[in-house]
């Protein structure tokens, strides 16, 4: 009996979707568009996040010391800096500085050859990276302490302060905007799906009434609609995913010429997370469909 019931209920769900295709197809398309927009913003948000992270990782400030600075002084500053949260200070010895200099391809070979191990005017220094650009002000405070002043040859933060602050503000804004847009589109997707399915079910309340009056048990009335909702959601999600992949590959071909040097590989990101994104979209679609059906049914099916 349970087998007959499952068979009949699934058949009802599938047959109803097909018989109501003039209603199903537009519903699927509307849900697809919102899922697609949601996907676009998730991917854009991801790109914005990773790009701003790489941008931030590229920012380091450096303290260079006079030759008069003793190793003790340098170590003292390094320690003080490392005590700050999210601050990493790496010691650059004369040899390290030389090796760095030698590896710089932007300087002519002849110039590079001028400096040798025996004749090395390059200063010792501390290279400072912070996990959060906001920590740089704390770094500045420590470096500015009176006791270090006579030994410091150069503190690169001063030159780049404005630029760093701008980058910091910009990345923060981008992250916030991406999060807000993604949230908005998730909410929009839920609302649109809910409304679309609600309308599809509303137009069939006569059928629901008949089912009730002929003594259909609750599962016969409700479950076929859940199945329909799931079918809507899953087909919409599949189409949205295809559309997303197509647009990403198109975006790649366009962006390559516009943003040279920046890694805006939307297609690559999508492909490297292919199954996660696909699964997530399908799951979101199916759940959204079932959830919307359940809510609409509750509204229109008085038992």
């Amino acid at each position: 009996m349970i087998f007959t019931r499952i068979k009949r209920i699934s058949k009802l769900g599938i047959v109803n979707t097909w018989r109501n295709r003039w209603l199903s197809v537009p519903a699927v398309f509307i849900i697809m568009m919102t899922l697609f927009m949601m996907g676009v913003f998730v991917v854009l948000g991801y790109i914005a996040n990773t790009t701003s992270d790489t941008l931030k990782d590229k920012i380091t400030v450096q303290v260079d010391f006079n030759d008069s600075a003793t190793e003790d002084v340098i170590q003292n500053l390094q320690q003080k800096l490392s005590q700050q949260t999210g601050v990493i200070a790496t010691y650059i010895s004369k040899q390290d500085a030389l090796a760095d200099f030698k590896s710089r391809t932007d300087i002519k070979q002849e110039t590079r050859d001028l400096i040798t191990e025996e004749n090395n005017p390059l200063p010792r220094g501390l290279r400072i990276r912070t996990l959060d650009l906001d920590n740089l002000s704390a770094v500045e405070e420590v470096v500015r302490e009176k006791q270090f002043e006579p030994y410091i040859y150069k503190f690169s933060y001063e030159d780049n302060k404005l630029l760093i602050e701008r980058v910091n503000e910009a990345t923060k804004f981008i992250k916030k905007a991406a999060a807000v847009m993604t949230t908005i589109f998730v909410v929009v997707a839920i609302m649109v799906t809910l409304n679309t399915i609600q309308m599809a079910i509303y137009s069939r309340r006569d059928e629901i009434e008949i089912m009730r009056l002929v003594g259909a048990s609750q599962s016969y009335v409700k479950v076929p609609f859940y199945i329909e909702g799931a079918i809507y959601g899953i087909s919409a999600a599949t189409l949205a995913f295809l559309l997303l992949v197509l647009s990403a590959s198109y975006f790649n071909s366009v962006s390559a010429s516009y943003f040279r040097g920046f890694n805006l590989d939307a297609y690559g990101i999508l492909m490297s997370h292919f199954f996660q994104v696909l699964l997530l979209q399908l799951l979101a679609g199916a759940l959204l469909g079932i959830f919307s059906s359940a809510i609409s049914i509750r509204k229109y099916v008085k038992i």
Partner: protein
Amino acid sequence: MNPGAIIQFLNVTKNYVKGKVTALNGVNLAIDKGEFIVLVGPSGAGKSTLIRLLVREELPSTGKIMVAGRDITRIKERDLPYYRRNVGIVFQDFKLLPNKTVYENVSYALELSDEPDAVIKDKVPRILRLVGLKERANNYPAELSGGERQRTSIARALVHNPKLLIADEPTGNLDEKNTAEVIDLLLRINEAGTIVLLATHDLDIVRSLKKRVICLNNGQLQLVSKGEDKK
């Protein structure tokens, strides 16, 4: 009180809009086994309310409704489908599913109540023969006359062998010939032992039937005629 009655309304009152509108006011009614009863009354007098209470689409504000010794106002939601299978109902507007054939409209009701396929295959043709629609089994409602549509909906109402068949203005949309057919069918169903409650305001029918007639007026019930077979 009538101890032999199958259906009893005991002092039933139904108010709408937070007590401002009284659709039924202290109604007492007993329907006997095998009875054919005609319910008349102007529109808005409470006929539909009485029917909705009887199929437990609504609950009375006060009072009890006993069906076969059971107070139906106390049936739990999940048991309602089982109760409703004992009550067949047909409407003025037929309420058939337009994208299902005559056969499917009838078999659907059985499918929805977990009847095995073998039972459905056996039962549906028999019922279609009873209502005279065997030849029309594969037609869609749009291809049928009004009378045929109403007979399809009666067939659907009968699949569960209900103890009570409620017909709410079943002939309201039908011409004279089709009306006669439908009434004749209802009488035959009643003769086979099913209680029939016919709501109508077609006075010709009321007069020709010679059954018990009750009238609802302003939410109150009056006996109009006892019926010839009940002297």
